[in-house]
């Protein structure tokens, strides 16, 4: 038995790698499976992998190849750990492209340190810092979620339409929080609003009553929280309600999730916020698909994740190979007009058209259309907490 074991292992290892080289194409799935947004990432990864599965199951991708997703942990906050994870995907796993990363800080770090120098395409579904619009990416970094510069404007418009004129702002002390707070403050002042105080908060503290005390001293009735729902953002809201400092909250995308309502309870009723997403035809179709696959339909960034995954496989097909540079050269072509419009669930149709030498315009769940730096303008949902969940009020 012992004698058999070694050759057997070798054989399995060899056939395994032979198969990977022959019929499988590896694609990295780099998200914060641990850390401040760990409650969101499983649904995001499942959405992207749904697109990969659709392509693999069609047997049309590059003449019948399968996509093998390789998951890695971006941690959302630790740039060194995320860079190491990206390095592993690119050098030891040999992925053709990377779907991810998620939070803005780590995404910028992975793009700058690993993906761009190695010529690997990265499509982030959720990195929204305005700073990422101007990084030197040689055309290798894309994102299917709009920059926060846009979210700040939409949020300011939402508050104006509701007659809210005076808010205190607190943001999580990182690229995402700072970028969003800056863009919101500018946009809100431009529409005639007043920001009484802007203060950062650190994630991972036991107690936020001191922060809340300072915020409430400025005298606003509404508190805008640009943080994370599993972290300091939740702590700030809890401490505000406990001390009676604020009862009305304004939230941005990082705070929108059912776990927040579960943690805080009915005191959150009436809270407004914005989250990327729209009422396009694709959104409804995708919502059905996601529901069937057991993915939370209204979860943040699930549609964007599906679209990022779909773009990777479609570009691969358009290039006719899983070569890294070839994928990069075709992303814009498959994402933008002209061409046959491709909706969610129609990846097989897209693959077929591309195989026949045709052109497609991927629309997907979120109306993907890239601008010249490879990011979408996007649409936003205004949401309000009603009856224990985030209900969509209006699309911007």
């Amino acid at each position: 038995m012992k004698k058999l074991l070694l050759p057997l292992t070798l054989l399995t290892a060899m056939t395994g790698s032979a198969m990977a080289a022959g019929n499988d194409v590896k694609v990295g799935v780099l998200l914060g499976f641990t850390g401040p947004i760990e409650s969101l990432t499983p649904d995001m990864a499942n959405s992207a992998e749904l697109a990969f599965k659709e392509a693999s199951d069609s047997s049309l991708l590059l003449g019948g190849k399968k996509i093998v997703p390789v998951r890695a942990d971006s941690t959302c906050v630790d740039s060194a750990a995320a860079t190491a994870a990206g390095e592993r995907l690119i050098s030891s796993e040999g992925v053709a492209a990377i779907y991810g990363a998620d939070c803005s800080g780590v995404t910028g770090a992975v793009a700058k340190n690993v993906a761009v120098p190695n010529g690997v395409v990265m499509i982030s579904p959720s990195a929204t810092s305005p700073g990422l619009s101007t990084i030197k990416d040689n055309g290798f970094f894309f994102r299917t979620s709009p920059s926060d510069a846009r979210q700040g404007q939409v949020l300011a418009a939402v508050l104006k339409s509701r007659g809210i004129k005076d808010v205190a702002v607190t943001y999580t002390n990182n690229d995402y929080g700072k970028g969003l707070a800056d863009s919101f403050n500018n946009a809100f002042k431009a529409v005639g609003g007043k920001v009484s105080i802007t203060a950062a908060h650190e994630d991972g503290k036991a107690d936020y009553s001191a922060e809340v005390g300072a915020l409430s001293a400025a005298g606003s009735k509404h508190l805008a929280v640009f943080g994370y729902l599993d972290q300091g953002g939740k702590g700030i809201i809890q401490a505000s309600l406990d001390s009676g400092a604020f009862e009305n909250f304004v939230l941005a995308d990082g705070m929108i999730g059912d776990s927040l309502i579960k943690a805080i309870g009915k005191d959150l009723t009436g809270t407004v916020g914005t989250v990327p997403g729209g009422a396009s035809k694709g959104a409804a179709t995708y919502s059905d698909m996601a529901g069937k696959a057991g993915i939370k339909k209204d979860g943040p960034y699930v549609g964007e994740s599906y679209d990022a995954g779909a773009l990777i496989v479609l570009a691969m097909q358009a290039a006719g190979s899983a070569d890294r540079a070839a994928i990069q050269s075709k992303i814009m072509m498959v994402a933008n007009a002209p061409g046959e419009k491709i909706m969610p669930g129609e990846i097989a149709k897209g693959l077929k058209i591309l195989a026949g030498g045709g052109d497609i315009d991927y629309v997907g769940a979120t109306n993907v259309e890239f601008n010249e730096v490879g990011e979408v303008l996007g649409s936003f949902k205004e949401v309000e907490v009603k009856g224990g969940k985030f209900a969509t009020i209006k699309i911007y």
Partner: protein, 346 residues
């Protein structure tokens, strides 16, 4: 809003006082009580075993972890205390397990150095080792994340209800965890002082702390004194940690961070002096909260209309909370190394 009519002035003064109570006084009393219980443990070990126990923060984390696990188990079988948190029911078992743990640590680590009559510095280094081991055990068992284990009623008075009741602009919120912390801390301190002043064992402990050789000559069993000290320390640490966790949240790293304010409290009050530890706890808590609070709204109620301050009137940003305990620590060591009530010179 501000006028000089009699009633309006009176409500303004009340509003200012309520505001200050809500954001400064009640949080300080709660946080101060938690620090006082923790600092008492540090000071007892320092007074009797004669070393600064760096493992104290993680001992609190260990005790709280046991409470959390017990609480979850009690919740899963449906046992609760109604409006009070189930954790109170879990506390005695957690204290017992923590006592077993510290006695085991003392036997396997500190006893060795005691027998060799090692220098205090060696004890301190050994306690840092114990700190890391406890740190690892807690993370291994319950993980590094935030854990919630509070249940029952959350509030004694809610801010909104207080406003409706009194008709004032400002609300006062008192959480159950705050009420519990303050009352339990008070009872424990009374019990501890009664024990130290009135019982034979307590007197033996004080004698041993004052002069080890004289105590030995008069027939006091040193190992027994050491054991009782550890038992009291473990009890205080578990209760302090659980109250802190109920009031805020349980996360191993924040307990490790508590070490700085705890030592500041023990040293400010006069290390080795139990009364000093309690005083120190409140002094540190009051400094941390009052220096980082923004007084704009408070002043707005008290000064005439156009004197309102433009800025927030905040001395330090809340990010500097830990720096406050550090500054206190340095100042006390420089100016009055014995602490407010004369303790030992560290």
């Amino acid at each position: 809003m501000h006028s000089w009519g009699g009633r309006a002035v009176l409500t303004d003064v009340f509003d200012a006082l309520i505001l200050l109570s809500n954001f400064v006084i009640i949080p300080v009393l709660t946080y101060g009580s938690q620090l006082a219980l923790g600092a008492l443990g540090i000071t007892l070990i320092y007074g009797i075993l004669r070393f600064a126990n760096f493992a104290h923060g993680d001992l609190m984390a260990f005790g709280t972890m046991v409470t959390v696990l017990m609480t979850w188990w009690l919740q899963s079988i449906g046992v609760g205390l109604g409006p009070l948190p189930t954790a109170l029911l879990a506390l005695p078992v957690a204290i017992a397990i923590t006592i077993v743990m510290v006695l085991f640590i003392d036997k396997s680590v500190f006893k060795f150095y005691r027998r060799k009559r090692s220098a205090p510095a060696l004890f301190v280094i050994a306690s840092i080792g114990v700190m890391f081991v406890l740190n690892g055990i807690v993370r291994f068992i319950i993980g590094p994340n935030d854990q919630r284990f509070s249940d029952g009623e959350r509030f004694i008075i809610k801010a909104r209800a207080f406003k409706q009741m009194t008709g004032l602009n400002e609300g006062l919120a008192i959480k159950v965890s705050q009420g519990l912390t303050i009352s339990i801390a008070f009872l424990l301190v009374v019990a501890l002082f009664w024990f130290l002043q009135r019982t034979r064992t307590g007197k033996a402990m004080r004698a041993y702390s004052d002069n080890e050789d004289l105590a030995l000559l008069s027939g006091i069993n040193p190992e027994r004194v050491v054991m009782v000290t550890w038992i009291i320390t473990a009890t205080l640490a578990t209760i302090a940690g659980t109250l802190y966790g109920l009031d805020k949240s349980f996360k191993p790293f924040t307990y490790f961070q508590l070490l700085l304010p705890l030592f500041a409290a023990a040293i400010v009050g006069g290390i080795g002096n139990p009364l000093g530890a309690i005083l120190g706890g409140y002094v540190v808590a009051f400094s941390e909260v009052s220096i980082t609070y923004a007084y704009k709204k408070f002043l707005k109620y008290l000064v005439p209309e156009n004197w309102e301050p433009d800025g927030l009137v905040q001395f330090l940003s809340t990010d500097y909370k830990f720096a406050v305990s550090f500054i206190i620590l340095v100042l006390v060591l420089l100016i009055r190394p014995t602490g407010i009530l004369r303790g030992r010179v560290i």
